[in-house]
């Protein structure tokens, strides 16, 4: 069984070794020196972080609600939040595009955001964050729900007999116990956001210096036949992912009681 499991680890190592041996330090440096790649790198870091923060912010109360309460429509909500997990990412991007541009009795969401709030979304950077958030949040909600399922609800019951409201019991008792889960949900959300490609391409496009993130950079470099640059950007993504995951894990270990 150990041998079988190690095959997966070997496969991952082999993939990385193949990428590294295909690429050269020079092409890596050249890719990094490109202003487009630097911009994509910045947007990737910012959008992934925003998507992860938003995901945890939404997922924590939602996970608690699904774990602790029985209410009409709970099963429907439980199923709905899983849709981004099972749906092909491209379909999610298409659905976002339709949502923002479909007229409802002559009113369109994108027009309202652009004209009234001066905050255009489609094919602008907010679309990148929204596309990433739509997928990452579903994973974060699952993680937070499991986290709260594993926390004894009786502590919150006792807190309520001592004078807490339901909200205070959540904030003062449940949430401090859920820190490890919050960090894990944030990590998963960030990692999912980094890997997102399909919905970003459809909903935000891949305009260089504007909505290009590293995952779309790989696609753009490949589409113009620059395989070495595509591999260099891929390796950059691997390095970023490893650094962020290690930092989040260390943070999680430090915060856990």
């Amino acid at each position: 069984m150990g041998g079988l499991s190690s095959l997966f680890v070997l496969l991952m190592v082999a993939l990385l070794v193949a990428d590294v041996s295909f690429s050269s330090w020079q092409s890596f440096a050249e890719a990094l020196a490109k202003p487009e790649i630097q911009a994509a790198c910045r947007l990737t870091m910012i959008s992934c972080t925003l998507a992860a923060i938003l995901s945890v912010w939404v997922a924590t109360p939602m996970g608690y609600l699904l774990s602790r309460y029985r209410f009409p429509g709970r099963v429907a909500i439980d199923t709905l939040v899983d849709i981004p997990i099972v749906l092909p990412p491209l379909v999610l991007g298409l659905s976002l595009l339709i949502l923002f541009h479909q007229p409802f009795w002559g009113w369109r969401l994108e027009d309202f955001l652009k004209d009234k709030l001066h905050f255009p979304v489609t094919f602008h950077w907010p679309a990148v964050v929204l596309a990433q958030f739509s997928v990452s949040c579903a994973f974060a909600i699952r993680t937070m729900r499991v986290t709260f399922d594993q926390i004894n609800p009786r502590c919150e019951h006792v807190a309520r007999t001592l004078g807490c409201t339901r909200g205070q019991a959540f904030m003062l008792i449940a949430l401090p116990q859920a820190w490890r889960g919050v960090i894990t949900a944030g990590t998963i959300a960030w990692a999912r956001a980094l890997g997102e490609f399909g919905p970003i391409l459809v909903f935000a496009g891949s305009t260089r210096m504007k909505t290009e993130v590293l995952s779309t950079s790989v696609f753009l470099e490949l589409s113009v036949g620059k395989l070495e640059a595509a591999v260099a950007v891929s390796l950059l993504m691997v390095a970023m992912a490893v650094i962020v995951l290690i930092v989040l894990r260390l943070l999680g270990t430090g915060l856990s009681p």
Binding site: N152, H157, V158, R160, T161, L162, G163, C164, T165, P176
Partner: protein
């Protein structure tokens, strides 16, 4: 005083109907009955943690049926104790006092007083994870008593303890009964506990009826 008047409680497919009993002020009552008959459900209803379909729950002659758990001034020690794992022993004891907005000095004074009564002065700075069964039980009791509740509810408080610790805890419960005017409702399977500490024994039958017996050995 705790009084239940024709209370109906639904817990999933389980139902208790027409539950009625009175525990006079300052008395120590033991609620007995086989597993699965709904003893914990009754306790949770008294605490306000479980909705009551019909009937009334009165504390000191006041109808508290629709009151929030915190407004009932009940100290609750559940079977698994449910100590707050991210807080120290001192913070566990101070939790209710902080919510009730007692001053720092008043809180510190009350914690010292409780720690003396319960014999946990040496544990105040410790985290709750490393405590023994008996120590955890004392901390849970202290947390429940801290804000001077009118009612103390204990769900099988001695079931997980060894014989020596159980004897110590029975002695401690007797002391609590003597030194506080709190009305106590204690759930147990053990008839020995009823004869050792209780003024009143309430027996929950298979039909969901409650029969009350005064304990003459007390």
């Amino acid at each position: 005083m705790i009084e239940l008047q024709a209370v109906d409680i639904q817990a999933g497919s389980f139902r208790l109907s027409d539950v009625s009993f009175i525990i006079p002020t300052g008395e120590y009552a033991i609620l007995m009955g086989k597993t699965g008959r709904g003893k914990t459900t009754i306790l949770e209803a008294i605490c306000g943690l479980r909705e009551v379909q019909n009937g009334f729950i009165l504390i000191d002659n006041q109808d508290v049926t629709q009151w929030s758990p915190g407004a009932r001034h009940i100290g609750y020690v559940p079977q698994d104790l449910a100590l707050f794992p991210t807080l120290s022993v001192r913070e566990n004891l101070a939790f209710g006092l902080r919510l009730a907005k007692y001053s720092r000095s008043h809180t510190a004074e009350r914690i010292e007083q409780l720690a003396d009564l319960l014999g946990i002065s040496a544990l105040l700075s410790r985290r709750v994870q490393g405590l023994s069964g008996g120590e955890s039980q004392r901390v849970a009791l202290g947390r429940a008593l801290a804000a001077w509740p009118k009612i103390l509810i204990l769900d099988e408080p001695l079931s997980a303890l060894d014989m020596d610790t159980r004897t110590e805890m029975i002695e401690l419960l007797r002391t609590v009964k003597k030194t506080t005017a709190v009305t106590i409702l204690h759930v147990t399977h053990n008839p020995g506990e009823a004869t050792q500490v209780a003024d009143l024994r309430l027996e929950l039958t298979a039909a969901g009826e409650i029969h009350a017996f005064r304990n003459t050995s007390q």
